[in-house]
């Protein structure tokens, strides 16, 4: 059933945890993935814009809000991947003091993960705990690994999770929208901007709203923040590197 607004508190199925030692998956709890144009908010189907606006509210108000970009937007697989990555930065540009912590790949990290700098699907809770993250967005993560991650975060942390998915979405996220190509990601950024302005939250005048992690700061001259739209534009691919067109590689 499609709700026209957010579900009432007592009706919510998938909510920030810790949900317990081994909570059932959202699919076991009866949450299904919605059709095109429909998002998920706390286990219920809602219009996409409602889910996105709630993502914005969570990311604008919860401590240590973080964007977790996965391999499909971190690496320049093709031109569309680059375009999507830029759109993700447009979203980041609307969230004051946001962190960007990458999930560069899915391999286990030996001898141990640095949870301040990366997130890993084999132990994502460490990054959430280590940075005291209470709201986050996953984007560009292959669906299987996103689902593992979302389940573990819900089981063991109090973080409100959101997913911007290029495929069918994620029922284990508290907030999920899908079919996210570059154009839809830019629309997400516009909704974030609208919600931010409605809430009266201002951006820093120099546009430096993305907060560096410790390592990011050290390799960037001990700066604390960066303007994602100015400083993070991608350079041209190295000479001789062929950039495949859309559809040839991971999206």
């Amino acid at each position: 059933m499609l709700l026209q607004g957010l579900p009432a508190e007592k009706e919510r199925i998938i909510v920030p945890g810790p949900a317990g030692f081994m909570p059932p998956s959202a699919a076991q709890l009866g949450v299904a993935l919605p059709p095109s144009g429909v998002g998920i908010a706390y286990g219920h189907h809602v219009p996409e814009d409602i889910a996105i606006a709630e993502m914005a509210r969570q990311m604008l108000t919860k401590p240590n809000a973080t964007i977790f970009p996965g391999p499909m937007v971190l690496w320049a697989w093709n031109e569309h991947a680059v375009e999507k990555a830029m759109a993700v930065l447009e979203i980041a540009a609307q969230i004051p003091n946001v962190l960007i912590i990458p999930m560069p790949d899915y391999r286990p990290k030996y001898p141990k993960v640095d949870p301040e700098e990366v997130i890993n699907p084999n132990h994502p809770n460490l990054t959430i705990w280590g940075n005291k993250i209470e709201a986050c967005i996953f984007v560009g993560v292959h669906c299987h690994y996103a689902n593992l991650t979302l389940k573990m975060i819900r089981a063991g942390t109090n973080c409100c999770t959101a997913a911007l998915c290029a495929e069918q979405g994620h029922e284990d996220a508290m907030l999920s929208v899908h079919d996210m190509d570059a154009a839809k990601l830019r629309r997400v950024a516009q909704i974030f901007k609208r919600v931010r302005e409605q809430m009266g939250i201002n951006l820093p005048s120099d546009g430096k709203n993305v907060r560096y992690t410790g390592l990011q700061s050290r390799v960037n001259g001990n700066e604390t923040h960066i303007n994602p739209l100015v400083a993070l534009k991608p350079g041209a691919p190295p000479a001789g590197v062929h950039m495949p067109s859309e559809g040839q590689m991971p999206h």
């Binding site: 998956s25 699919a27 132990h123 299987h144 495929e167 069918q168 559809g247 991971p250």
Partner: protein
């Protein structure tokens, strides 16, 4: 002395003349013929035996399944499987023969020769076959194989690992007795071993089902939110060797290729789990993993099974097919060849004035739990005939409708070890169940639900 007007006749090492249609036989350094070399070339001729395959047009699954004109042919189940694979744009197939599957995979070899399957070879045995299918699927290509009975069990370890690796493929199980003692006759006990692997499992009633389920299995299993293997089971011999009418699309069209880059996991990345985990410490014992990594992994596999429901409804018309359920005095619930026998039993019951409804189960995993709860809510008697000893379908049905129906459930009749099922056995259970007459084929311990001896039921449940 040879006649200069006659062409010189070439001979093979045995001295037999090589005819013009025989391809040149290449051998490996050991002298064994190389059979995987493609394409076959006809000496002296220009005809390309793979020409028809090259001219196949890609169509959407929706057109293929619902709009394309179909022509009826009278063919065996193995031939139906071949025709399904012909239209499924299959990249890779591995065979290892076992009765009653051998003809199926031999026919896939014919397709390979004709260019409809891009790569094909004979494996060493089923463990190797199923492992090769895993490799092919992980590499991102569309894979098909088939096996039966002991072959299924020999391959069960890699088969059971396919879902966790999120490997879409279609495996056909032409069910037969599992040894010992050695037998090659029909019995679908092997399905019970497949039900809890985390794969999607369909059970074909007839040759038409087999044709449709294989093609639809590729499309359903490859959906991003599913990304799982599909097992298409049928009862060996009854379906594989017998002929039946099958409505098929023209040979000139095929499904779109697999788009592995849209899958839930990246293709063939040896540095990432699950490939990486295979050479790492066991995940549940590793200090580098969360305590529940394997648990949520299993949850995710079964969530994929759950998500396949909507595609099964979209492409197959539902997980089950109810007929004449409303107002029926009794219901028969069956899958596979037992469904075919049940149809005839229902006709005989009608001759006796007994109105019997029917629910055919198409999908065993995911199981139509919600549908059965609704369909069986008012039923008084449910009869579940099966071609195996343990009654795996009856167990699933009883568990699904427990608390939702007061029906008496007859877990039978059962035949196994190569027996066929006379339809009169099913009729007896329906009439006996309605009249209270004691069955000679089904023990009281296999009758569950209303008005039954609970101690007997407990005994039955313990023993299956």
């Amino acid at each position: 002395m040879s006649n200069p007007l006659e062409p010189e006749v070439k001979t093979n090492p045995q001295g037999d003349p090589i005819t013009s249609v025989e391809p040149e036989q290449k051998t490996n350094p050991q002298g064994d013929p190389i059979t995987s070399a493609a394409p076959i070339k006809v000496s002296g001729g220009s005809k390309d035996l793979q020409e028809a395959a090259k001219k196949q047009r890609v169509v959407t699954p929706e057109y293929m399944f619902f709009e394309a004109p179909r022509k009826r042919e009278f063919i065996t189940g193995s031939e139906a499987a071949k025709e399904a694979v012909r239209r499924s744009n299959v990249d890779f197939s591995v065979a290892y023969p076992i009765t009653p599957q051998s003809e199926t995979m031999q026919l896939i070899g014919v397709l390979y020769g004709e260019g409809y399957v891009k790569e094909y070879y004979r494996g060493e045995e089923e463990y190797g076959v199923m492992s090769a299918i895993a490799g092919g699927s992980r590499a991102g290509v569309r894979c098909f194989t088939a096996t039966a009975g002991p072959g299924t069990l020999r391959g069960i370890e890699p088969i059971a690992s396919w879902p966790g690796h999120r490997l879409p493929a279609v495996a056909m199980f032409t069910c037969r007795v599992v040894n010992a003692p050695l037998a090659i006759q029909p019995d679908n006990i092997e399905i019970s071993y497949l039900l809890n692997c985390g794969m999607i499992v369909f059970h074909a009633e007839n040759q038409q089902d087999l044709f449709d389920f294989i093609m639809k299995g590729f499309i359903i299993g490859e959906k991003n939110d599913v990304t799982l293997p599909v097992g298409v089971a049928c009862d060996g011999f009854f379906v594989t060797h017998a002929r039946n009418y099958v409505d098929m699309q023209e040979k000139g069209i095929k499904l779109p290729p697999r788009q592995a880059w849209k899958g839930a996991v990246p293709v063939l990345d040896a540095e990432n789990p699950p490939a990486r985990l295979s050479r790492d410490a066991p995940v549940q014992k590793s200090n580098f993993m969360a305590y529940n990594i394997h648990a949520v992994w299993q949850q995710e596999v079964w969530a994929g099974v759950e998500r396949s429901r909507r595609y099964i409804e979209q492409y197959m018309g539902g997980l089950c097919a109810p007929e004449n359920v409303e107002g029926a005095e009794a219901l028969i619930v069956a899958s596979g060849s037992a469904a075919a026998q049940s149809r005839e039993a229902i006709r005989l019951c009608k001759d006796q004035g007994v109105n019997v409804g029917f629910i055919k189960i198409r999908s065993l995993r995911p199981f139509p739990t919600k549908e059965l709860r609704q369909l069986c809510a008012k039923a008084k008697l449910i009869v579940i005939p099966e071609f195996n000893y343990v009654g795996w379908l009856a167990k699933d049905v009883a568990a699904a409708i427990y608390g939702y129906s007061n029906a008496k459930i007859v877990a039978g009749p059962h035949v196994y070890g190569g027996m066929s099922m006379p339809v009169e056995m099913i009729v007896d259970e329906v009439i006996g169940g309605l009249t209270g007459k004691k069955s000679i084929a089904v023990p009281e311990s296999a009758i569950m639900g209303r008005d039954v001896n609970q101690a007997e039921v407990a005994h039955f449940m313990q023993n299956i």
